[in-house]
Symmetry: C3
Subunit: 116 residues, 3 copies
């Protein structure tokens, strides 16, 4: 088991915020080592826009992080509210019923929480 | 005892933010089930404005959540700083000495933390 | 050992936000008592600007909190990214390799997390 488990939370739709979150995740992995930390990003509300198939200015960063084992999770409620579906998301992104439930379950299970 | 316990944190005074937080809480309860999750909202700084008696555009949402067992907690320090008192708050809102203490105590007691 | 341990997180560069975080910390200590709570502030991204040697409008607040035992930690990655070094920081501020690692380690070790 990884020594550390961390769930990041994004719920704002601006590119600068998403960019910061993705950089935060890469810095965490670089510092702790890929084998030492399990990372998930939960996106809800407008934050799901960072995981859209198109347009997506973060595509390369996200693919690189996914290759390092980062899980990308989008809130199903938020997608529905925004008129989007799983098909609108980047390949590899998983839809969870409610982003806040995922944040709750992971923390209850011992994950750290970071909200950039 | 509830399976999950979660404290939400709001410290900004805009209506959109409060609306998002309240929707987040309803989504959480709908997804996990009212009997499975205990929820509190701690409001401090400008966030206490979401819990004012008047004007309050969130009145109906808040009452509905309170009926589902959600605790609404306002920071006493922040109220004083803003020249407000317990009498200015919606019925049912409880004042705690310091919002940050409440956030600390609940997490130390095992509650998850979500900051929308 | 202190009864409570809390890590605050700041990653935005505006003065109002830093002011709120520093007030939050003072309120926490005033409410719980200095001997009952251990507090750290982790600053990353633009948040490190709150800890600069000059200009720094928060100097007095920060010194007062440091005298009460608050640890001020700046993200080394963020400093490098902004073209800054340890020499640019207020006396007493410690540089950590990555702010997000510090947030992760402290939470894994049982610290509460507050993101104002």
């Amino acid at each position: 088991m990884d020594t550390y488990r961390v769930v990041f939370h994004i719920d704002e739709g601006d590119i600068a915020r998403a960019n910061m979150v993705l950089h935060n995740i890469q810095n965490l992995i670089d510092d702790l080592g890929q084998d030492e930390v399990e990372v998930a990003l939960v996106a809800n509300s407008e934050g799901v826009k960072a995981l859209l198939r198109s347009p997506n200015v973060h595509r390369r960063q996200i693919r690189k992080l996914a290759e390092q084992g980062v899980q990308f999770l989008a809130c199903g409620n938020s997608l529905r509210f925004l008129g989007l579906s799983e098909d609108d998301l980047l390949e590899g992104v998983r839809v969870v019923p409610a982003g806040v439930s995922e944040l709750t379950k992971k923390q209850t299970d011992g994950w750290a929480y970071i909200r950039p």
